[in-house]
Symmetry: C2
Amino acid sequence: MADTDLKTVSSTIVHKNPWYQVRKDEVIRPNGEKGEYFIVETPGPSVIIVAMTDQDEIYLVKQFRYQTNSWVWELPGGQAGKEDPLQAAARELQEETGLVAGSIKAVGTNQVMNGLVNETGHVFLARDLTIGEQHQEGDEEISKVRKFPLHEVLQFIKEGSFIDGQSISAMLQAFLYLGYTIEK
Amino acid sequence: MADTDLKTVSSTIVHKNPWYQVRKDEVIRPNGEKGEYFIVETPGPSVIIVAMTDQDEIYLVKQFRYQTNSWVWELPGGQAGKEDPLQAAARELQEETGLVAGSIKAVGTNQVMNGLVNETGHVFLARDLTIGEQHQEGDEEISKVRKFPLHEVLQFIKEGSFIDGQSISAMLQAFLYLGYTIEK
């Protein structure tokens, strides 16, 4: 355990499905009390892609999310599993949008939802975009792919019509990577 | 189902623990194929708080996250459960930082991790801050509470030393709410 006096005394898989498993750990806290954690474990990191044109437009996909019973505009992305994250990002980008990126760079990583799941999100910036062929996976339901000017995307976030948290954090990481300023 | 032809044919709780449950749904896709989803269901929305001083400093907490086995700087926040999100935000802020907010406003919501969990995150902006008493919950391990100038927090995100995705998205939502500009 990283720099903590919390001790793990047992570890058991209590649920498993094709996309993730739940691990139950029994622990002894630094104060001597017993505790437990239920960690959702996904097969690997996720990838998310800020695909930007030279005119500062960003590609978004509109996807049906069963978990929240809603159609949501998002950045393209998905699970990398055991695949190299950069390759997974290029693959997901093409599958979901048809775009082929001449340049794709790692912007940074984040912990997606660290009170629940062990997943790390890898954020990529894709540029020099050309249109290829779109191939959706069977369990994906993408109805639209569209590019929007950056200032419109920011307006969508501000007014609450763009609500995908993972996409919002990825965008801030990409903007900072690009040296954009954020000021009053 | 919101505007989709996907049909749910069964719904079963397949795992349950004190913090969340996993629901398995069997569905028929629009193309007639069978499919399944495993939805993590938390007891309610989560809340996250951008607590900002008049000098544009932001309060961060350093917390041990068992799920990622790491100490992570984050915005204060937590599960609201059945509590009113605004009240939960004020409570979490005081529990984790000791701060009492003279003003606390809803900035917006987001879907925290909509490929996995049904949770909505409510983002709040807390101002007019005074120092009260800190009360941590039993399963929380917070080692530090500190305020940092906004430009330093942005630098931490850029350099990869601030990696909590939920906090990063909440900050962008709060900055846009405050009318900050994001420019090349």
